[in-house]
């Protein structure tokens, strides 16, 4: 997987840049999101260019904003000979109060609230409702006189609604539809081409975007997936549906590859699990705040070995006997 910039033709770079500027400037409409996705799928080079952009975004996100500005904001075009005299003194960028909390990854445009990979955030909403963002998530909070609306762009959220004195409905919008909370506690996750809903308390009404009349009420203890045209038959709520709120992943004889898919979400970098692992299962409850520790535990307790290609890239395979 080499990302050699020279491999990406100029016209593809031009196209991806147009997207990046657009995504950053404004929230994409669903139509635009689909066009973007189609563009990425259309050609390997498109996807490569997009991933390169995402990598750049990830690198930039590692930098704490204030520190980054102070260090990177040193003037570049000052007289080179004067460099030694000016060390660290020229800070061209003045911090702006109240804005530094915002990062700008392009995937979810500029949402109101977001979390980085491995981060979780709890927010008390104006009406007293509780919102928790799981790892790598982005949400806009759009409350007005007539409704309490959350727009989920990326990742996963937990909501516990409070009674509203103005009796405004509580809505969550995903790329595939809208959820009407009926005084409840629930989890919503945005996947690339569908949405997931898990209801913990009371019930939630699901309205697929293109066919809202097909709405269905999902009851406590049930979960479902839906896209813009329809809703899957509900199934019992998964153990892990809301375990993340307590910072835990549960595994009960879970195939290793499936378990790794859970772990991946909380860790920056790559974890691969090759074919040889197909008959390895994992049981236990694991703390998600330290994914590298989970990998160490797995290596000690399961018949696997981990090859570290870089600090971020772990390759799991079955131990050779």
């Amino acid at each position: 997987m080499s990302l050699n910039p020279a491999d990406i033709p100029e016209n593809v770079i031009k196209e991806v840049v147009v997207w990046l500027v657009k995504v950053q400037d404004d929230d994409l409409t669903t139509q635009e999101q689909q066009t973007l996705l189609a563009w990425r799928n259309e050609n390997q080079l498109h996807e490569l260019a997009w991933q390169r952009a995402e990598n750049l975004g990830m690198t930039l996100q590692k930098i704490p904003p204030d520190l980054g500005k102070q260090v990177l904001g040193r003037s570049a075009t000052m007289d080179r000979r004067e460099f030694a005299k000016h060390l660290g003194l020229l800070l061209t960028l003045v911090p702006i109060a109240g804005l530094s909390y915002k990062y700008a990854p392009w995937q979810a445009a500029l949402a109101d609230v977001k979390t980085a990979t491995g981060e979780q955030k709890t927010i008390q909403l104006a009406d007293g409702s509780q919102l928790i963002l799981n790892t790598d998530s982005a949400v806009d909070i759009a409350f007005n006189d007539t409704q309490r609306l959350l727009k989920l762009y990326r990742g996963e959220i937990y909501i516990k609604t409070a009674k509203d004195s103005a009796q405004r409905p509580f809505l969550v919008q995903t790329a595939q539809g809208q959820l009407h909370a009926l005084g409840t506690e629930f989890v919503v996750r945005q996947y690339s081409d569908y949405s997931y809903l898990g209801v913990i308390e009371s019930a939630v009404d699901v309205l697929p975007k293109d066919d809202p009349k097909q709405n269905q009420i999902i009851e406590k203890g049930q979960q479902t997936r839906f896209d813009s045209t329809g809703i899957e038959a509900p199934s019992p709520l998964d153990d892990n549906a809301n375990a993340w709120i307590n910072g835990v992943i549960y595994a009960d004889n879970m195939p290793l590859s499936e378990f790794i898919n859970y772990v991946k979400r909380y860790r920056t970098g790559v974890i691969t699990c090759d074919e040889s692992c197909h008959d390895i299962y994992v049981s236990g409850s694991f703390q998600i705040n330290d994914p590298d520790h989970i990998l160490q535990v797995l290596e000690k307790t399961r018949p696997i070995e981990i090859e570290w290609r870089t600090r971020f890239w772990a390759k799991l395979s079955k131990k050779q006997r």
Binding site: V17, K62, L67, V71, L72, A84, H86, S100, K102, A104
Partner: protein, 165 residues
Amino acid sequence: MATSTIQSFSQTYENHHSWIYNWLCKKLASHHDAADLTQDTFVKVLQKDMPADIIEPRAYLTKIAHDLMVNFYRRKSLEQAYIEAISQLPEAITPSSEERLLLLETLQEIDEMLTTLPDHVRETFLLSQLDGMRYKDIAAKLNVTERTVKRYMALAFTHCLTFAA
């Protein structure tokens, strides 16, 4: 590499090594740094395949040595600014030494990438990417139109995506 290239390289090295070293010594405070950068200059010459028929080898080599020196100062000034910034952090959130090193490496990577961008383009890029400011707010702050901000952002993105690390 062809034999002739090796010969011409060792010739170049012999003819020019000492004056480059002396030139760098005058510019830099430390003889040690000057020796390092002299070495780097010739590594660059090898990488670049200096044209054999170059008329002004001194000018050519001075240019390489000069660029390396600018880069060297740039890294130094970054380190300095970084140490200052870190020392201002409250003790509780001071990163560990390993984290510090990783962060410094990341900053150097980004710094090197952004260094050739015009100041206003770079400032726009940092306001957007580090502060998460919206284009219209950046436009207001820098007193330019939103279209200009978009143009700067497109420039910066294009530069970053084509920058060979």
